[in-house]
Amino acid sequence: MPVNCAIENALLNILKNKSRNILLGVITFVIITAEVAGMSIYNASGTIVKEFKARFGSEVALTPLKKSAEGITAEQAIAFSESECLLSTDINSSLTCRSDTLKAIGQTEGRSPNIIQGRENYGGDLSNAAMRLRGGQFDKILAEGKLPAILTDVKFWNRSLLARAARPAFRAGNNDPIPSFKVGQYKNECIVSSEFAKLNQLAVGDHISVQAGLFESGTLVETSISLTIVGIYVSAPSAAYPASYQNPNNEIIADFNTVASIQKEGQTGVAVNATYCLKSPELLALFEEEIRSKGLSPDFSVTTDEAGYRRLVGPIENLNSVSLAFLLMLFALGVAVMALVSMLAIRERKYEIGVLRAMGMKKGQVALGLWVETAAVTTVCFALGMLAGGLLSQPISDTLLAASGSIPVSVSISPLTALEIFAVAIVLASIAGFVSVSQITKYEPMKILMERN
């Protein structure tokens, strides 16, 4: 007997057995709708967890345990950053400075003739230092939108950096890619704020000279640094600051090495700030072991802000777990309901199966016919369930995230999700159908008909 006869007969049966198929369809529709909603939320929250982990990592704090603890050197900071455990590193170096030729915004006239004098006059207080020389990673500074506004005048930086920096998207502060920073590329170059440039009548290409205070064997010494201005960024007007060097517009921004290398061996004074982000909080112990072996003093503790990380990622992870549990429960419920309904439907169809077998139809063909019928109903209900589930996913997700105090998540059904749901529906229908059919068709046709009678 040709297989297409069994399939043709099955398709005709869909319309002949309207009531039964509508009942089956409604059940399938409800299950698929719930599956779509559950799976969409599960996938969306899973993606967000991954994105959160990738974006925020887990910040490591290197905290001195005693006041006398020596700071982390620039070499150490760089060595620590070369770890496989890290998602990202942000290193900057800074030191306070003054200038004989430049004025700082908000600088008290006559109060800062000399850092050494100032320190002596004001009991070691360095607040009379006029400016701060900060060495960071230019590309990061720009990419993370740390500058108050766009660069207006960049002469020596490469063109692509200028073009990207000037794009409106960058102005909005998004993470537009910026050419990666290379050590030594910007040696002794700097950028300054427009307010600072205006005050000192500076332009791109000008050379400036600042004096920084460094300690050598407990004595403060001044070191002169010459820099070339390669860019001026538009800055917001300055607010009032207790000390002029605290004003961000007074920061002379150079690259990390320019600032770090001012400090020679045996000197201190350059503050190195490094922020390390782990790929995941679980890597903390491994990272600590690695940086201890690279020379981190026992006077420093190595910790992560796990609570903060959990606060951020936790609600989404919870939603992910809840939706997975919901999916599994639904799957189990779906299997049970579909199995029950199919068994009842096939018991009701025992007579029909008996007749078809008596007419010479093979067991496999009977099963195929019933499967085609169920699959066809399932396919129609799948389409309707996808539609309904898609409409329900977003409000359900919003409610759950609002309850967990997290940000709203955009929920959508990917083709893969749709395929997964369809596979689940077909598997459910097939398992239920085949179990029942195999139970019935193991008998000779006459026994099936007599049992039914």
Partner: protein, 225 residues
């Protein structure tokens, strides 16, 4: 020449120690009509089920064309070689008369665009009009359903026709017409027709009559003989 043979066949229902019949040996030839007569519950239908490949003997051998039914593909046998008319008719009630016939043809492997026409022709032969042929089975009378069951058994042109009380629901005129069909099938078309019946009118067309009582089969003389 024997088409079907039973050699020392016994049958007992599953879970029952009492045999419906034991050690039955019978032989059926092509071109002959056989009547199996006996009281209700004597085992007539069970015998037909064994002959139609719907069930297997507990003991002994039922063979078709020399090959044991127990060893052969009984799906194929039922689809192509045997046409069975059930006492309970066993028609597909959610389908029309025509669909029942066409499906039987297709299960047997018959193909082509002419199946519907052939089915309608067959239905006309048993007295079912094209209008009634398109009706659902449950919208037809008992007599009409019985004639459709007969047409379905003949749909795939089988060598063996096993009929269980095929005229039970028919009026005299229709019974006569149907019996004429059976007679022609045996004598003109060379089929082997085996009919389980209570009716003397049916036994009247038989070439051989077997009575069954308490599981014992006996040959009785026919009017023809």
């Amino acid at each position: 020449m024997s088409v079907l043979e039973l050699e020392n066949v016994s049958y007992a229902y599953e879970g029952s120690s009492k045999a419906v019949f034991s050690d039955v040996t019978l032989s059926f030839e092509a071109g002959k009509a056989y009547a199996i007569a006996g009281k209700s519950g004597s085992g007539k239908s069970t015998l037909l089920h064994l002959l139609g490949g719907l069930d297997v003997a507990t003991r002994g051998r039922v063979s078709y064309g020399g090959e044991s039914l127990a060893d052969m593909n009984r799906n194929r046998y039922r689809a192509r070689n045997a046409g069975i008319i059930f006492q309970g008719l066993n028609l597909l009630t959610n389908a029309s008369a025509l669909e029942n016939i066409v499906l039987s043809m297709r299960i047997s492997g018959m193909k082509g665009p002419g199946l519907k026409a052939k089915a309608l022709e067959l239905l006309a032969r048993v007295g079912i009009s094209p209008e009634k042929a398109s009706r659902k089975i449950l919208k037809l009378s008992g007599g009409e359903q019985q004639r459709i069951a007969i047409a379905r058994a003949l749909a795939h042109n089988p060598d063996l026709i096993a009929a269980d009380e095929p005229t039970g629901n028919l009026d005299k005129d229709t019974e006569y017409k149907i019996l004429k069909i059976f007679e022609d099938l045996a004598h003109k078309e060379g089929k082997c027709v085996i009919i389980a019946t209570h009716s003397k009118r049916v036994t009247a067309i038989a070439d051989e009559i077997w009575t069954v009582d308490k599981g014992v089969f006996r040959s009785v003389p026919t009017k023809r003989n």
